[in-house]
Assembly symmetry: C2
Homo-oligomer: 355 residues x 2
Amino acid sequence: MPIQKAQKQRKSGRAGKIEDVAAATGVSIMTVSRAMRGVEGVSESKRAEILKAAKRLSYVPNSNARSLAVAHSDLIGISLPTFLDDVFADILEGMRSALDNAGFETVIDTTGYCERREEAWVDRMLAWHPAGVILGGVHHSPAVSASLKSARIPTLQTWDYTPDPIDICVGIDHFAAGGLAGSQLLERGYRRPGIVGVTRGRDLRAEARFAGFRDAFASAGVTDIPESRIDKHASFEAGMLGAQALLEQSRPVPDVLFFLSDHMAFGGLSACEAQDLRTPEDIGIMGFNGLGINTVLRRPLATIVSPRKQMGHLGARNLLARIHGVRTERHVALPVEFQPGGTLRSLPGESPVHD
Amino acid sequence: MPIQKAQKQRKSGRAGKIEDVAAATGVSIMTVSRAMRGVEGVSESKRAEILKAAKRLSYVPNSNARSLAVAHSDLIGISLPTFLDDVFADILEGMRSALDNAGFETVIDTTGYCERREEAWVDRMLAWHPAGVILGGVHHSPAVSASLKSARIPTLQTWDYTPDPIDICVGIDHFAAGGLAGSQLLERGYRRPGIVGVTRGRDLRAEARFAGFRDAFASAGVTDIPESRIDKHASFEAGMLGAQALLEQSRPVPDVLFFLSDHMAFGGLSACEAQDLRTPEDIGIMGFNGLGINTVLRRPLATIVSPRKQMGHLGARNLLARIHGVRTERHVALPVEFQPGGTLRSLPGESPVHD
DNA sequence: GATGTTCTTGTTATCGATACCATCTGAGTG
DNA sequence: CACTCAGATGGTATCGATAACAAGAACATC
């Protein structure tokens, strides 16, 4: 049967449909569908012909129709608090390296640490019947966990760690990491620590670290650790302001400051220097995360390095496995590493870092 | 007609459909559809009843079906190079403030400055029939422009500026900004500048700035400006390595370094200090963007501040307007501002910044 | 040459919503 | 009281694909 009514299209910008390709090739739409998806059951010659026609007509299959028909989409929803600190950007980078070429689209939202926004996002996301969902953190509104569980969507919780995730989890134990920070400071003889973070309840991972930190000091008899909370995101400036506040208000003046992040720590370091406090002689500085700035500081910040890229990569890999029905570890706690840097007193017997 | 066969659902996790709600309420699916969308034509009492039932059954309308029926989705696709520097995170933050509560889902991808990845992403994105698309930059493969134009999708190009965008554009003129940097340095008497960036061809906006920078110096007779290119993203470390290379290799030693970004500039500053070069006495340092670190440095970096949040906000607002069929300016070039900071020689007659 | 396999291709129902048009109801009108 | 008319509601086709099954063609086997 000769083709005839093909080769219209191509003007008007209206999207071409599978039907157009079928007409142009003189086959049924099912054959086109099979050819486009690369499933077997189409002769090589015909497949080539169809693909060529599809290209010529710049035909793109409608994902909405496809997702409706197969009852799920190839979307992976990702909800992270923010990209303004480098943490989640690194994690995302790690996830990309696993997600790329896996044939999924990533739908990202940033919640700004707001639980209600996360909840609303999960609702809207579920309406797309995504292949999987990734959440930053492990603290969610009950509705979020319930929806995700009852919809049986493969879900990765990351950055934070819990032994009882919604589905699977790859993260670090922030409480333990904070405890590690505390014990390292104790070992170095610090007894009057101060904590600098952001407004309580915003960054729950940081709260866990601080809790672990306090816990470590409590077991050495140090309680009532002064804290300074800044109502900004974890920026250089927030660290400076927080340190300033703490130095002014708390007496006796702390002998070491534990910051929410390296960026805040750097800001705090600057505040200390502005008050002619030398580091590490007069005051110790400790950050968290092991961010890039540390690589260029002549006296690097003492910090705890979190394996962010690795975490993103492994988490995404595990999620993909789940999506494909492969079993994986339900929860993984990645190790962190203490780096003494040059902003703390050295241990007895340890040679001090040169300036 | 009494209800009877309702209140099954609720187990099995299978998603509820509009039909279930209709059955549970004893109305037709059309009425449910109208009630859920909030369009008129449903009595208040019935609407309330339906909404309650929908909630009880935790019914969520299937977005795929909806998008198929209305022939477009409420997705806005966003393609940005990376979140690893703070630039696009800020821009995104600005866009959020306009996009939030506008009823759109954002589908984000990072291309890592790779044109082919962007092209592939646009193809996949178009298959969703998105409400709009946002691209970082104005340089794209011809296929991208062609697809977007022929599909008549509202498209915002941002960060960079062009008077002839695919659809609309809100950005800054990087060539001019680089020229501004150059002329400021010239005015301060610098005549042996050096440029530190990333591998050529990666960050096209930076290339435009460098071009403008060279142009400004050329008109003062200074040509053959030495450059150092690092094969990393615009990180602190890259800046340090780039500066090191330049200081070692180029003779005579430059009297000022122009960096791709403030982060790189800070890294470079550190490299200079490591070689006992004082700033600004021995060498000038100039960054770009006006990033957060500048707020805590006791001697802030000379820089050119880009209005990133504002840009994101305005761009997203204009795009929303386009989507809703309102006419907007096709292209907007936002102004940038030079900040002398403390890493340059002061102008004759200008009081130097205190340390 | 009849029968069965395998491979390719087509037909029809379906996914879960919306658009369009038809119908029904009750209030207002002369 | 018949007659509009507006508002509320329902029936059915449709959006663009895929799944499941049916059917036709080509080839092998006995």
